[in-house]
């Protein structure tokens, strides 16, 4: 009897611990609310920035609650719409442009059954404390209400075009010329969208069109030609930025959610991240709306699940993706990471898919 008593106490403690550790949803599934029977496996591709989100235990649990299991392959947004295979139930690139480009390509592996924007994530630059301070002094970045805005992107791009050295803006600790590193625009969306932002910026802030793109392409191309080898995914670039530090990666292009997600997954580094790493918001910036493409009924089921409030809340609070749904508020106070604005107000439209196609082709020939 004593043995059993011990076991009962242990189980009770365990149940209580489970409640505190995993939160209510998981206890719900512990008590058997998960539907019985086989989960439907939904197969597809997603950009690297969403892989941690899709593979997190909590998201998988929530999806299981709806009878779904996900088999996802990391794939660059630009590449995935070219390389989709017939066993894909869904494609989840980062930008509406990628959807347009899938359509332009003739919807090769399946017609789009349904598509919807799931998140809204601005393109940002990540940088370091000393670089940001120098950019503030140079009048390129402005610090307003705890947020760093790149208010003079044209000036920054001009300095880079003119091969100015870091020391010429007072940053004597850094060797070499000013640079913004991005992912490969022919493979990954963040590098691709920054090319659009740069093109618009060089075009005096007007969205480039089929008629105007030719005039700005040489300068955009020059910006990218100097980068050398470019990473194929935004998560790889972000990891290298953090690990190799300010000397190797003074500034990179990324998504807003990356730092939020990273700091939650590596809480022990939060103080260091807060003191050293800066998020810079181009004003205006461009949105990555993370449109989900359902290629069949299984894909549609996953699409519906991703729009549920629980998943949208989790996406913001643990992965830093602002909701792409109308009327959903994102509460800043739940995040520990600093430097995020409550809302992103200055946003510029992306050029059309045909124009983007031109830009991408020009930048693919290195």
């Amino acid at each position: 009897m004593q043995k059993f008593l011990g076991l009962i106490i242990l189980l009770a403690v365990a149940a209580a611990a489970a409640f505190f550790m995993f939160g209510k949803e998981k206890v719900a599934s512990l008590s058997g609310s998960t539907p019985k029977g086989e989960l439907i496996t939904v197969t597809g591709r997603a950009g690297s920035e969403k892989i941690n989100f899709l593979q997190s235990n909590k998201v998988q649990q929530l999806l299981a609650g709806q009878g779904l299991k996900i088999a996802v392959k990391k794939s660059g947004s630009v590449e995935m719409v070219q390389e989709a295979a017939s066993d894909d139930d869904f494609l989840w690139p980062a930008s509406q442009i990628n959807v347009e480009s899938y359509k332009l390509n003739g919807e090769k592996v399946g017609t789009i059954q349904q598509s919807a924007d799931i998140f809204n994530s601005p393109i940002v630059l990540y940088s370091w404390d000393i670089v940001t301070d120098a950019l503030i002094k140079a009048g390129i970045v402005q610090h307003k209400e705890g947020v760093n805005y790149i208010v003079d992107l044209p000036k920054l791009l001009t300095l880079i075009k003119d091969k100015k050295q870091w020391k010429e803006i007072g940053l004597t600790q850094l060797y070499g010329s000013m640079i913004i590193r991005t992912t490969d625009p022919a493979k990954s969306n963040s590098g691709n969208m920054f090319a659009a932002l740069a093109a618009n910026t060089i075009n005096n802030g007007d969205v480039v069109t089929v008629d105007t793109v030719g005039g700005v392409l040489p300068q955009v191309k020059d910006l990218y030609a100097r980068l050398g080898y470019m990473e194929a995914s935004s998560s790889d670039l972000f990891d290298k930025f953090l690990q190799q530090g300010v000397g190797a990666y003074p500034m990179i292009v990324g998504y807003e959610n990356q730092l939020v997600e990273y700091s939650l997954q590596h809480k022990e580094y939060l103080p260091l991240l807060k003191s050293k790493v800066r998020i810079l918001y181009p004003a205006p910036t461009v949105w990555a709306s993370h449109p989900f493409i359902a290629l069949n009924d299984k894909g549609k089921k996953l699409l519906a699940a991703l729009k549920t409030p629980e998943i949208q809340k989790l996406a913001w609070e643990e992965h830093g993706f602002r909701s792409g749904l109308m009327g959903v508020e994102n509460d800043l106070s739940v995040l520990e990471v600093v430097g995020l604005p409550k809302s992103i107000d200055a946003v510029m439209p992306m050029p059309s898919a045909a124009v983007m196609d031109k830009i991408t082709k020009q930048l693919s020939s290195f």
């Binding site: 611990a17 690990q243 530090g245 000397g247 190797a248």
Partner: protein, 542 residues
């Protein structure tokens, strides 16, 4: 059942919480919610040789997790050739010194989830007194200053081959970038600039010893420290070197050229062939290598770890990074940008065929009776790999116009000797035809043939224009021994400037082959499994 598994996981976590604190972000319940693999899983890893010091960590993981882990160490070029096989590769995971080799090799896109395990800059390390005399302990040093000092002070240093070992490739690309005037990134145009070519040639031709492996280079320098002033190698190897020095010897001092530094980032990635159990095992091993405990242990061995920046996150754990050796963790390192893949390939071809110091190689080949049949077939295949320039190019081992190739076949005496100059495919083809026409017979005495080969190349070797070496392949017990060999060299003035590499084959005695190589500052390669591979490795050392 599921309920029980989850509870069991919670219990387990509770117990471990008592011991070590329970981290909510670790996914213990994920592991238990997956069905346990019915068959034991094993991972075959192909890794760069500099990772061999970390093998105890892998073995510890294997024991704890009951996952089989085997590691094969290869040079960077071989790793990228292996990756080019895509799904046909025999390996499950890859761990090269730098992600450069993934981008060059992974043409079919089979690598998944590659993450950097640790970082190490490639440095120019000099005896501390020399660094101080040059004032380099107190100022930023440029690549041009290094070239000037190397030439004026006649510094003797070692560096691995840029086409065989990543530390050599990285330093070569970094120095080339600096010599091209420090462009933001190296392009094809820079490669064809004669002034750039002239400078990189001057630098490479002042290298005294080459090697195919960074770890071996460090060990060689330890053994022959009298003959050298320094080496180009990973910061981690400089730390290992200084830690292994006998008391009283002066340490090496690391120089980080401001315009020519590179960082090896040691990515560990999965070779996806569709095996989910292996993929899960890989993920576990990767998580383990990136866990705080493993990262601390890696950092204690002189590799930089930590997730944010190149500074060690916890100074208490950075004892390996001794400032007296020039290692300053708070220095901001600006590595050169890795060029686009086609530019790297072209730069490596130019290294091999135009820039590097030419090599003077004497092949001393066993044609004794016991080589008949398979032995001689294998030997011919090995020589074809090196002399047929189309095959040699695949391994980045092609000859340059200034190379000298000598072949000395032997049995109990020297049978003949052939020479070829340069890299004309016709000339090398003729040499190959002569080698292939030889038939085995008679006894074995490698010592007499090796001594003879050394005498043949003596005057050219002494000119200092070449990386001179002798590669001896033998398949049987040799008559006479090392004392007789030494006697034959007496009075010739030949010493360690001409290293002897030996290739063990057939029934050769490892003791004889090893003793000869080590006495002559070389290395023995075991060709008993794959003699072609052994020849390639040996050739990669000069």
């Amino acid at each position: 059942m599921k309920l029980f598994q989850r509870l069991a996981a919670v219990l387990l976590c509770l117990i471990s919480a008592v011991i070590s604190g329970c981290d909510q972000n670790q996914p213990p319940q994920q592991q238990s919610s997956k069905p346990a693999a019915s068959a034991p899983v094993s991972l075959a890893i192909v890794a760069g040789s500099e990772n061999s010091a970390l093998e105890p960590l892998l073995q510890q993981f294997a024991r704890e997790q009951k996952i089989g882990v085997s590691v094969k160490y290869m040079g960077s070029v071989d790793i990228s050739l292996e990756l080019a096989k895509g799904k046909a590769s025999q390996f499950d995971a890859v761990w090269p010194a730098s992600s450069l080799w993934l981008s060059l090799g992974d043409k079919q896109g089979v690598i998944k989830n590659a993450k950097s395990v640790m970082r190490s800059p490639v440095v120019f390390a000099l005896k501390k007194s020399i660094a101080q005399k040059l004032g380099w302990d107190k100022k930023d040093v440029t690549v041009m200053e290094i070239l000037d000092a190397v030439e004026k002070e006649h510094l003797r240093f070692a560096m691995t081959s840029a086409t065989q070992s990543n530390s050599g490739t990285s330093a070569f690309l970094a120095f080339l970038t600096a010599f091209a005037g420090g462009p933001e990134v190296l392009t094809a145009e820079h490669l064809s600039n004669p002034q750039t070519a002239e400078k990189i040639k001057r630098f490479l031709r002042s290298v005294n010893r080459s090697s195919g492996s960074s770890g071996w280079l460090k060990d060689m320098l330890l053994k022959d420290y009298l003959y050298f002033d320094g080496m180009v190698n990973y910061e981690a190897m400089v730390i290992e070197f200084n830690r292994s020095l006998p008391p009283g010897q002066e340490p090496l001092f690391a120089i980080y050229p401001v315009d020519g530094t590179s960082i090896a980032d040691s990515p560990f990635g999965f070779i996806a062939k569709g095996d989910a159990a292996k993929e899960a095992a890989f993920a576990k091993l990767q998580d383990y290598l990136l866990s705080p405990a493993a990262q601390d242990s890696i950092q204690a061995q002189g590799r930089r770890t930590g997730l944010v920046g190149m500074e060690a996150a916890d100074p208490a754990k950075s004892a390996a990074f001794n400032p007296d050796w020039g290692i300053n963790l708070s220095r901001i390192l600006t590595p050169i940008r890795i060029p686009a893949a086609p530019v790297v390939s072209e730069a490596l071809n130019l290294y091999q065929t135009a820039f590097r110091k030419p090599s003077l190689t004497a092949y001393v080949l066993d044609y004794s009776g016991s080589m008949a049949g398979n032995g001689v077939d294998q030997l011919r295949k090995a020589m074809r790999t090196l002399l047929d320039q189309r095959i040699a190019k695949e391994y980045l081992l092609q000859a340059s116009p200034e190379d000298m190739t000598i072949v000395v076949p032997f049995n109990s005496m020297v049978m003949n000797s052939f020479q070829a100059q340069g890299n004309d495919p016709q000339v090398l083809g003729d040499l190959l035809a002569k080698v292939e026409a030889l038939e085995p017979g008679g006894g074995t005495n490698m010592y007499v043939a090796t001594a003879e080969a050394m005498k043949m190349i003596k005057s050219q070797a002494e000119s200092g224009k070449y990386h001179a070496s002798v590669i001896v392949m033998s398949d049987g017990m040799s008559e006479s021994g090392l004392p007789q060999f030494n006697a034959m060299l007496q009075g010739t003035g030949l010493g360690k400037d001409v290293p002897v590499f030996t290739i063990l084959f057939g029934d050769a005695k490892p003791e004889q082959m090893k003793a000869l190589a080590e006495a002559m500052s070389g290395r023995m390669f075991d060709g008993r499994v794959d003699v072609v591979q052994a020849f390639r490795e040996a050739k990669g050392y000069n």
